[in-house]
């Protein structure tokens, strides 16, 4: 990576592509803007691209197909732009291996913030953010459904989670039996809904414990590791 990261912006709408390219350039990125998937493939082959911003709905080859191509051929992070708000579209995009998505109309500042989060993760050698790809995770009689942001108990009753609780629970479910420090948890969960996670991690942990522990005072699932952080002490099966 050079000091000016190189972004590839793929959008068939000139009215978005041009001002967005300008905005990103003003914010310190090198931007190559193209209007279709074929051109994007050429640029990907010829240039060292650090991140792709990709519109889903395009004439010809669509964004999802291009996203899958990028994922198959390399490790370049992808952020999807989507105009549809239906949950299923987001999920499909993330199944295709996108790192994040923004809904049109989006705030350009938020887009830049998300780009920076992804670059920070790449720079620190952190794992790719585990996207909620519609999978479910089973542990200790519970099932965490990422599509619906709910926990389902033994009797099949759904317990809806708040955004923060869900992000935290997902972080644990995708990293079972790993010790996660407060900073790590913040980092993992922050990327998604940046402003929705201002309350302290400890507070959210105790809320989660109240929901899933038999005895919240004596937690058996989400354990506190002395001097370290928290860990989910359970076998997790991805469904």
């Amino acid at each position: 990576m050079t000091d000016r990261p190189h972004l590839l912006l793929v959008d068939d709408e000139r009215s978005i592509r041009e001002p967005l390219a300008q905005y990103l350039q003003r914010n310190g990125f090198r931007v190559t803007a193209v209007e279709n998937a074929a051109e994007a493939r050429t640029r990907l082959a010829a240039n060292a691209i650090d991140l792709v911003i990709l519109d889903i709905m395009m004439p010809g080859e669509d964004g999802l197909s291009l996203c899958r191509h990028i994922r198959e051929t390399g490790d370049i992070p992808v952020i999807l732009l989507t105009a549809k708000s239906e949950e299923t579209d987001r999920i499909v995009g993330l199944e295709m291996g996108a790192d994040d998505y923004v809904l049109k109309p989006f705030s350009p500042r938020e887009l830049v913030a998300r780009i920076k989060v992804i670059f920070r993760r790449v720079a620190t050698g952190g794992q790719r953010v585990t996207a909620p790809d519609g999978a479910s995770y089973a542990f200790a009689g519970w099932v965490l459904k990422s599509q619906e942001r709910t926990l389902v108990d033994k009797d099949g009753v759904s317990l809806p989670l708040s955004t923060a609780e869900y992000n935290l629970m997902l972080a644990f479910a995708t990293r079972p039996n790993q010790v996660l420090s407060r900073d790590q948890l913040l980092d993992i969960t922050q990327g998604r809904e940046a402003n929705a996670f201002d309350r302290a991690i400890d507070n959210q942990i105790s809320r989660l414990r109240k929901k899933i522990e038999i005895d919240p005072k004596n937690p058996a699932l989400i354990k506190t590791v002395w001097g370290g952080g928290y860990t989910l002490s359970a076998e997790v099966r991805k469904l």
Partner: protein, 451 residues
């Protein structure tokens, strides 16, 4: 009386037809039975009186002709003294018969008693042939009939004869016959009724399901021809409605996409506006337009949810929604209560609750959320601390594009779709949205769900 009838009459078509036929059959049976009964009674009386009458007539004929009287007949010049049970019915019948024989009697007395009579040979033979010799053991023994007739003033003739015991019961026979008739007529009727009722029930079930949830399976075409035709027509209508709704969804999707693209373009361009305050206001306006678009699309799609119904802990749902508001620093509180579980589409209920809480914050400063199970229903209530709504405007508030003009909050924005959307979501769940001013001030908006 009407209410009583309504309560006990069957409601279904087949039930009413069966009841009608059953009642008609019963009435016809009773008429025919009463006719048969009268005829039979006459026959029995004739049978009882005949032997005595014949012998008396024979004796009178012979005495008039000066011949020997072979029958055991007694003549007397005074009214014979007789003990036993008088049988006026036999007396009347005997008088009629004597009149028929041209021997009108002045007076007829018939007395029955329990003194056994020796059966004559024919009778004994018949009883043996019918295996009928154990009368005594069954307590149905024959009786003796004594008949005295005053054939001229002061002249009496009397004779004794056997009297059959009461004939076998007639009622049992009637009941058996009626049952057989019912089986023959009502069973096929019930079968036809079922053939008729089942497809009709499927049809109304499907129509109800469609009304309630906006989706329904096609109905199997079966039953009699005209019912089958109705089903075919219904299925065709259903397919047409579905095609129209699909078309609407596609159109809305396209509109949504086509409007969001220029909005996105506008949003990106606002970043090049120098004045920070202006820039913020512009992006706020774009945000608002986007929210309206969201609401319009959601309302237009109401009743066509893809989300499955599932058992959901509604207390946890309310808690999660409230928590999301608290994360944003909004003045919302949850009043904790017992655990309430309902069968709902959780994302839709989340949205409905979010809308109510947003309204409460906008117009009523603070939102207090409670979840209770009461009167066989589940209620998620959002109370605020605002001025409430005038009673006569409440219905209007739930209509799309109606906004509340509050003196303090003029710049509240929104397309006025919030409550309309909540109401549509409730309708999809078979529930209701209830608005009520609280006696101690503020508005209470409740999502009321069936259990």
């Amino acid at each position: 009386m009407k209410a009583l009838l309504r309560r006990f009459l069957p409601h279904s078509l087949a039930g009413q037809i069966i009841l009608l036929v059953a009642v008609a059959l019963l009435v016809a049976q009773m008429i025919s039975f009463s006719m048969i009964y009268r005829e039979r009674q006459r026959q029995i009386l004739t049978g009882a009186a005949a032997p005595a009458v014949v012998r008396i007539v024979d004796a009178l004929d012979r005495s008039a002709a000066g011949q020997d009287i072979r029958s055991r007949v007694t003549f007397s010049t005074s009214k014979p003294v007789l003990r036993g049970e008088r049988r006026p019915d036999i007396e009347r019948r005997a008088a009629d018969m004597l009149a028929d024989f041209q021997e009108p009697a002045l007076q007829v007395i018939a007395i029955a008693d329990d003194v056994p009579m020796r059966a004559n040979r024919w009778r004994a033979l018949r009883e043996r042939a019918h295996g009928d010799h154990d009368h005594d053991r069954r307590g149905r023994r024959d009786k003796r009939l004594t008949m005295a007739v005053e054939y001229q003033a002061g002249k009496w003739v009397s004779v004794q004869s056997r009297l059959d015991s009461d004939p076998p019961r007639f009622g049992g026979w009637l009941i058996a016959q009626t049952i057989i008739l019912y089986v023959i007529v009502l069973l096929p009727l019930a079968w036809i009724g079922r053939r008729l009722a089942r497809p009709l029930k499927d049809l109304s079930g499907s129509a109800q399901q469609f009304a309630a949830s906006g989706s329904a399976d096609p109905v199997e075409e079966r039953g009699p021809g005209d019912v089958r035709e109705l089903t075919t027509a219904f299925n065709a209508m259903r397919a047409r409605i579905f095609a129209m709704l699909d078309e609407k969804d596609r159109m809305l999707g396209a509109i949504g996409h086509d409007l969001r693209t220029p909005l996105a373009s506008l949003r990106v361009r606002t970043e090049s506006v120098e004045d920070e305050g202006e820039r913020a206001r512009m992006s706020e306006t774009i945000e608002e337009m986007n929210r309206m678009l969201d609401d319009i699309l959601a309302l237009a799609r109401a009743g066509r949810s893809m989300e499955p119904v599932q058992k959901v802990d509604l207390s946890a749902l309310a808690d999660a929604v409230v928590e999301d508001f608290l994360e944003l620093g909004e003045p919302v509180g949850l009043i904790e209560g017992e655990r309430v579980i309902g069968s709902v589409r959780p994302q839709l209920i989340r949205r409905a609750l979010r809308n109510l809480i947003e309204n409460a914050i906008k117009y009523g400063d603070r939102a207090h959320v409670t979840v209770v199970a009461e009167d066989g229903r589940l209620r998620i209530a959002v109370r605020d601390e605002g001025p409430g709504i005038a009673e006569d405007r409440m219905e209007e508030m739930m209509q799309p594009f109606t906004r509340m003009e509050s003196s303090r909050n003029r710049e509240t924005g929104g397309a006025g779709l919030g409550l309309a959307l909540v109401r549509a979501i409730m309708a999809e769940h078979g529930g209701t949205l209830r608005l009520a001013n609280r006696p101690d001030g503020g508005l209470e908006a409740s999502l009321i769900l069936p259990v």
